[in-house]
Amino acid sequence: MAVLKVNNLSKSFGGIEALKDINLEIHENEIIGLIGQNGAGKTTFFNLLTGIYAPTSGEIEYNLGKRITSRDLKPHKTAGYGISRTFQNIRLFQNMTVMENVLLGYHTGFKYGLASSLFKLPSRHKDEYEHYERSLNLLKEFKLLDKKDVLARNLSYGEQRRLEIARALAANPKVLLLDEPAAGMNPNETKELTSLIRWIRETFDLTIILIEHDMSLVMKVCERIFVFDSGRLIAEGTPDEISRNQRVIKAYLGEEA
């Protein structure tokens, strides 16, 4: 079943067409890779998928229990719909602890009201306790438990990347968008990330869409790949198909193949 359908999606900034007529369909539980050179429109596509930008034309449609269209997509609402993301340049809450970062991931799950917030009514305690326990479990799974009281900015680079993914998963998403998760990682860390991504899909039962330049990661982990070039979708297929696609080779190598 298609969890995400994109029809004729375009986005322009002034006269620049960042994305032009994108059509694609993503199914439940797939791991999808988006590749393309810098400026090809991949991150713009993510920003459209999460409501940060509104499309110039075209339609985005999620099927997440209920139908979500691009008109429903507001940045602060996407988490509630079940769409979570990480960012190309890590965006953690640097001066908050690891635990607080994950608790923020649970933001939409908290139910107690303003009066409880101000006066510490009993409803608050139960709610906080439940989410605290869940955060502990999540941190344990991401091997960050012993760092829970450390400020996010004091984590190593790899740990920060892991924490960002953990925080995104706290929102209990059905679709997880990872923007260059392997950027800045060494080969060993990238290898760990490969198994982490597979593990996440199995454990949390969700669809993963990732942007990545590291071809070893993309080829190993993704089931289908979409190739962007200058705002257009030029190819789609399995890693095997993509690695043999003449248009892709041409776009990547910039010469007649």
Binding site: T50, I52, P75, H76, K77, T78, A79, G80, S84, R85, F87, R91, L92, F93, Q94, N95, M96, T97, M99, E100, L103, L104, G105, Y106, H107, T108, F110, Y112, L114, S116, S117, L118, F119, K120, R124, H125, D127, E128, Y129, H131, Y132, D149, R167, A168, A171
Partner: protein, 316 residues
């Protein structure tokens, strides 16, 4: 019951003891009226600084109009207690509520702005409130509002200060408070986590304004007399200085900042010519040697951030 664990009993005893000691010292005359005046002014400044710290230090929204909320509270309380003859408690609560409403009304359009733009907008708001107060004859216009009953005493002031500390601390330890801090840290990421940033900015603004209104009420009912100029731009700056001096994002910092700056300015009263110079030098010094303020964003143990998530849960 976690409410009555060992640590919190000491805390409550401490809060009451502190109140009782000063109450005895003030009523027996060991501390004279002049000292009482200064203690009450310090408390009012603490309340103001806590509210502004919530807006600027914790939520990261730079506001230069905090005195305007104080003004709204002061005039509300003056009308309620002097013109309508209602009890002080009603005056205090209505002051907080009208100021909070003003915070919401002004916050919704202006909090879309960021940084310097927001600062200018809130500065403009402060001027509007002042000019309105100058031109409404019912509240005395430029002559000021006279004969406000003097209800403010140590009990009310201390009670309201404790209330401000406790409520703001509770708020900051809640998920709503964490959302506010997350907005300061990274607005885009906060939004991606599902934080409705406009709502939480306005909420922080409203709570900060609420306490500024209460501070205004205490002020009005202590000094019998208020005029629009008492709450001008310079008053907003004074509050901001306390917050920055104590540490943006530290409750303890705001309290210490208010006390230290008031005491410095008191000690320098005998050398009034040098007062502003020394005051300025102290500020220079703190910005040079501790640019994050006296406390940085640290807290004393009793104000500790995250105590709700860690401390109380462990105590289950």
């Amino acid at each position: 019951m976690r409410v009555f664990n060992k640590g919190s009993i000491f805390k409550y005893i401490g809060i009451i003891l502190f109140y009782a000691i000063f109450q005895v010292l003030l009523s027996t005359g060991v501390l004279d009226d002049y000292i009482e005046l200064n203690i009450i002014l310090i408390c009012i400044n603490i309340i103001l600084a806590l509210g502004l710290n919530l807006i600027t230090g914790f939520t990261g929204q730079f506001s230069l109009g905090h005195a305007a909320f104080m003004s709204i509270g002061a005039y509300t309380s003056a009308i309620v207690t002097a013109k309508l003859g209602l009890p002080f408690f009603v005056g205090i609560m209505l002051s907080g509520i009208t100021a909070a409403l003003a915070g919401i009304v002004i916050g919704i359009p202006t909090l879309r702005l960021k940084g310097d733009y927001l600062a200018i907008a809130t500065l403009g708001f402060g001027e509007i409130v002042k000019i309105l107060a100058l031109n409404i004859d019912y509240i005395g216009g430029a002559i000021g509002f006279n004969d406000i009953p003097q209800y403010t005493n140590w009990t009310w002031t201390y009670g309201m200060t404790v209330l401000a500390v406790v409520l703001i601390k509770n708020f900051l330890n809640s998920y709503k408070g964490r959302a506010c801090i997350a907005i300061r840290e990274d607005e885009i990421a906060a939004e991606a986590m599902g934080v409705n940033t406009t709502f939480y900015k306005v909420l922080a603004f409203a709570i900060g304004a609420f306490f500024a209104g209460i501070a205004g009420s205490l002020y009005a009912n202590y000094f019998y007399f208020i005029k629009p100029d008492s709450f001008n731009f310079m008053k907003s700056i004074d509050i901001l200085v306390i917050v920055v001096f104590g540490g943006l994002g530290s409750i303890a910092g705001s309290i210490i900042g208010a006390i230290v700056l008031s005491v410095i300015s008191l000690l320098l009263q005998s050398v009034s010519d040098l007062r502003m110079i020394v005051y300025a030098l102290v500020l220079f010094g703190i910005m040079l040697f501790r640019p994050a303020g006296l406390m940085g964003n640290q807290e004393f143990k009793i104000f500790k951030k995250g105590a709700d998530a860690n401390g109380s849960v462990k105590g289950q």
